[in-house]
């Protein structure tokens, strides 16, 4: 039981990080029907920015994180405005390929600038932990859960009650109709990239926490968040969160309990197996909307 609780907690914390990554995917997908393959690269930049500000320039950790969030959001918006805005209206796959190009650049640029070795994150938690009846709760994981909860709550309030949240939902529902009634669609695109960037910074930060560290392969995690967004449904932020947490828990539980005949590291692909099983039952995910077609 202790082992189960331990694994469940770890899985839940990992799932929160997946939820953040998945939220980034969903926000951009909802605005422009594009899957942002550079999301993993953005996580990577987020983790390295925090690390540079916190250990290199020795800023207080909170300031370092805030700076990283701002910079990454600004970077994502400029990418959208300088590059992606030029190809709006082209087939979706052209946009997807451009984000793939961006991810190739980032994945190569990070080791080129910082070298291939892991860095220090500079977080105040390190490996310190809270012990509750045999279960070890690392502080960095506890904070991951808390911060994720805060970010998600903030996002849902914004999405539901603010003018721009409404604008985002309107654009998602019908871009042309939204533009026709005066929704600033271009600004909504930029905003969705800003949100994705900010969320990626937070995700990257916790991803790089103990027992991990900022290293060039950190961005691969985004690939494992794909099952999360599919599980939840591409266009549903709530689904992204539920999917992320489910995937995180399943992954860590399988790493603890998978029988050996399934092969080494089966937990790495367990999210994909789960995703495929779910899709056979519900082809648009658990919360996705089935598109209505007419002839």
């Amino acid at each position: 039981m202790t082992q189960f609780l331990q694994l469940f907690f770890q899985g839940f914390a990992l799932g929160c990080i997946y939820a953040l990554v998945a939220l980034g995917f969903t926000v951009i997908y909802r605005a422009s029907q594009v899957i942002n393959f550079a999301q993993g690269g953005m996580l990577l930049i987020g983790a390295y920015l925090v690390s540079v500000f916190a250990t290199g320039t020795r800023l207080p950790f909170g300031v370092a994180v805030a700076l990283a969030v701002l910079l990454l959001a600004a970077g994502a918006v400029s990418f959208q405005m300088i590059v992606l805005r030029r190809v709006i209206g082209q087939p979706v796959f052209v946009l997807v390929m451009i984000t793939i190009g961006a991810s190739i650049v980032i994945d190569a640029a990070i080791p080129a600038i910082f070298g291939g070795n892991p860095r220090l994150l500079g977080d105040p938690w390190g490996s310190s932990a809270l012990h509750v009846g045999g279960v070890t709760l690392n502080w960095v994981r506890i904070w991951a859960v808390i911060v994720t909860a805060l970010i998600l709550a903030g996002f849902f309030v914004f999405d539901r009650f603010s003018r721009y949240g409404l604008a985002m939902r309107a654009t998602a529902a019908d871009e042309e109709a939204a533009a026709a009634v005066g929704v600033p669609v271009r600004r909504v695109y930029a905003l969705s990239w800003a949100i994705a960037g900010a969320v990626a910074a937070a995700g990257g930060l916790f991803l790089a926490g103990f027992p991990n560290s900022p290293n060039p392969s950190l961005g691969d995690v985004a690939l494992r968040a794909f099952p999360a967004i599919i599980l939840g449904g591409l266009d549903s932020p709530l689904g992204a969160v539920v999917g992320g947490i489910v995937i995180g828990v399943v992954e860590v539980l399988t790493s603890g309990y998978a029988p050996s005949w399934l092969g080494a590291n089966f937990s790495d692909i367990a999210p994909y197996v789960l995703m495929i099983l779910v899709l056979f039952v519900r082809p648009y995910g658990l919360f996705g909307t089935r598109p209505v077609e007419r002839l």
Binding site: I35, F93, I98, F226, I230, D268
Partner: protein, 370 residues
């Protein structure tokens, strides 16, 4: 204008295309004699990849099913070759078709998922295929040699094989190891292209294009969605299997890591760069996507600048070029080609006496609308 003028003009075009095709074929056949070993082996990789890209062109370009699982089918073909050719010492005349058939069977198993899933959902499920495949390759050493990889057999017909150091003399012309692979792959590529060129005008090919344009109306009009999608998957994975077997055989040693998502992405990039839904698009795209890393590597000095590894610089340049290309010409190389052709026609029209509009917009025979 009279019908005679139109038909003469069209005859002119067809003749022009035949001449162009002949020039390309002659150029492709003579190419090995103009290249050193480095560039020739690059050319071999490009031609082998083009076979797989033509296959993906059927699935994504004609049938409109986005698949990021191509690396999986390449791997299936490669390991079929390894088991039959390497473990059982069979001839390439058996393992090369077998690689295609086994990969095609896998395609037939995966294909039906496309009936349930659309668009990007399908794309991501096929990503799952790549990861699940890699898990199998890592964990079944009998097939793949485990994480350390395994050796692959050279192409072998009877007692003659295409291994390193082998050569063949045909009428005084010596064809070395690279050249042998080049000509074999070129032949298979030509067959694949011919097949697709004909396929697009058959009932199945037209059905695929109807499904690509709009699935539901196609179904209403009587297209059998299940049969169309599954046959697209089977054709695509057959070509991927052959391509993968040749690729692994030419490399002679492959680790499971190589059948990665990036490989799949490169194939998708190749068909989009070339131009979706065309016969030549995947080939042109492969030329760009699979030759570019070698070109970039040869451009930069091998000594790293300021301690930055050369691989990182080439990757950055590669990514930047992909972005720049798609921003500048989203329709792909074929789009660039038609733009140039339009420009040439414009210049030509200025020189010649003006013609009627009908002639200028006359579609080229045999060319499909994209």
């Amino acid at each position: 204008m009279s019908a005679v003028a139109v038909s003469r003009r069209r005859g002119h075009r067809v003749k022009g295309r035949t001449v162009l095709l002949a020039l390309i074929v002659i150029g492709a056949v003579l190419l090995p004699f103009a290249l050193n070993a480095y560039w020739l082996s690059t050319a071999v990789f490009v031609v082998i990849a083009a076979i797989g890209a033509v296959g993906l062109g059927v699935l994504t370009g004609y049938a409109g099913q986005i698949s990021l699982g191509h690396a999986f089918f390449l791997a299936v073909g490669a390991y079929t070759a390894a088991v039959l050719g390497g473990n059982d010492h069979l001839t390439a005349a058996i393992w090369l078709p077998a690689a295609g058939i086994v990969a095609g069977l896998c395609g037939a198993i995966v294909g039906p998922t496309a009936l349930r899933l659309r668009g990007l959902y399908l794309a991501i499920v096929t990503i799952g295929l790549v990861f699940i495949g890699q898990h199998v390759w890592f964990n079944v050493p009998a097939i793949s040699g485990g994480p350390g990889g395994r050796a692959f057999p050279p192409v072998q017909f009877g007692s003659f094989n295409f291994g390193v150091g082998q050569q063949m003399t045909l009428g005084g012309v010596v064809i070395d190891h690279n050249g042998l692979y080049y000509y074999l792959s070129l032949l298979l590529l030509a067959l694949a292209m011919l097949y697709v060129f004909n396929l697009q005008r058959t009932r199945v090919g037209r059905a695929m294009q109807a499904v690509r344009e709009r699935e539901l109306p196609a179904a209403v009009l009587g297209v059998n969605l299940a049969r169309t999608k599954v046959s697209a998957f089977v054709i695509s994975s057959f070509m991927a299997g052959v391509s993968g077997a040749l690729y692994a055989s030419f490399l002679s040693f492959v680790i499971p890591d190589q059948w990665s998502l990036l490989l799949s992405i490169q194939y998708v990039a190749a068909i989009i760069v070339g131009g979706i839904g065309t016969v030549w698009g995947p080939v042109l795209g492969s030329l760009v996507i699979f030759a570019l890393p070698s070109i970039l590597t040869s451009l930069f000095p091998q000594t790293s600048a300021g301690g930055v590894p050369i691989d990182d610089i080439t990757s950055i340049a590669y990514g930047v070029l992909i972005i720049v290309f798609f921003v500048a010409e989203p329709r792909g190389l074929v789009g660039l080609g038609s733009r140039l052709a339009g420009l040439a026609r414009l210049i030509g029209a200025r020189r010649r006496p003006p013609r009627s509009r009908i002639q200028e917009t006359q579609p080229i025979e045999g060319e499909e609308a994209t």
